[in-house]
């Protein structure tokens, strides 16, 4: 019989990059949070302890911190006329796993989109004229985002603080 636990304010499905940051912020705001994580628990000590964590063969070459793609493979192709085939070993695309998820092996870099990126259609029209986009035909579905850099800037700033990115 299912055991009924006491309700909490928030449950995160996964405690990876998003789940852990969100949970931390919600707890700081006074909410009670439970995180559900399918992967192995990992803690600073002993899992990320020196010198074992400097094992480049284990982590960089053999991808010891990444998802086991024997259990969960993804397929890949460059263009739609190719047949998608399984990625049999991780190479360029590295999904994380376990407590902390890809947060534990990211490079600490988060790039802000620039002012023009949010108003791409307007930006190009201003720079090259409306006819430039019209000439590209109806298949060009370029749009402005509907949110501006100025509106997002405080959130970029906050994210960079809490993620140390």
């Amino acid at each position: 019989m299912a055991q009924r636990l006491k309700p909490v304010d928030v449950v995160t499905i996964g405690v990876g990059l998003t789940g852990s940051l969100t949970a931390l912020e919600l707890v700081k705001a006074g909410l009670k949070v439970v995180g559900l994580e399918r992967g192995a628990p990992r803690y600073t000590v002993p899992d990320f302890q020196s010198p074992a964590i400097h094992d480049e063969l284990r982590f960089s070459i053999r991808k010891g911190m990444m998802q086991d793609n024997v259990k969960e493979a993804v397929t890949f192709r460059n263009t739609s006329d190719q047949t998608a085939l399984p990625i049999r070993r991780w190479a360029s695309f590295l999904p994380g796993t376990g407590l902390g998820g890809s947060f534990v092996h990211w490079n600490g870099q988060s790039f802000r989109f620039q002012v023009a990126d949010f108003i791409y259609k307007t930006h190009i029209e201003q720079r090259y004229g409306k006819k430039f986009l019209e000439a590209c035909g109806p298949e060009l579905t370029i749009q402005d985002w509907g949110v501006t850099y100025a509106e997002l800037e405080p959130h970029y700033d906050r994210f960079e603080y809490i993620s140390a990115g």
């Binding site: 020196s50 074992a52 190719q82």
Partner: protein, 258 residues
Amino acid sequence: MADVSRRALIKASGAIGATMLPTALAIDAGSAQEHDHASPAPSHPPAAAVVPPQVRETTYLFFNNEEAAFIEAAVARLIPKGDQWGGALEAGVPNYIDKQLAGAWGAGERLYRSGPWQPGTPSQGYQLPFTPAELFRTALGAINRELSQTPFAKMNPKEQDSYLENLEAGGKDLGGVPSDVLFAHLLESTLEGFFSDPVYGGNRNMMSWRMIGFPGAYASYYDLVDQHGIKIDRPTMSLAENADGHVHVNPGIPARSP
């Protein structure tokens, strides 16, 4: 081997090792001697005091005799012995490859092995049905059958190089393994064995690290964070030892699935 005293040798290898003096001794003693000449830095203790010379002959778990003969000869051409430093053979690379193939990696850990099976584009990566162990066994078997008259190990270095270049060029089928795929695996494994931590069975006496001036797995460089352009001149250290030389083998090595 004149520079390695009998006492140091027995102390370092233990009585059992010393009674089994193998052919590899000459090479290892030679490289220890080279190191003494190569790095006369007075701050370093003598090599023998830091790392006991390894005098054991490799006990192969995966390779049979013919396979081992090919691997030993091939890695010695991929990273040959130089004037100052030993090459892949002296660094124990065949032992590294053997242990990798005999272990989880060789058995296809973290290698997706279900269909669909078909040749992919270069950007789709490895698409063969072989585990690393199967790949080496199959391809080395085909090579050794082809060279049954003149085994690779008996060729002169020039012939060996041209045979390896031929494998690298591809177009040759080794029992289902394209020869360039075997070559790529062989080269990658050789580099791994030469440069990875000795805890994996290669890089004997941390030879490659001493050669390139890499100090190894020091736990912390905190005191050096704000210092730039300095040479890190410390004795090399393996993952498995702390600063006092105590060995702490991590049960998580080699990598296992979480």
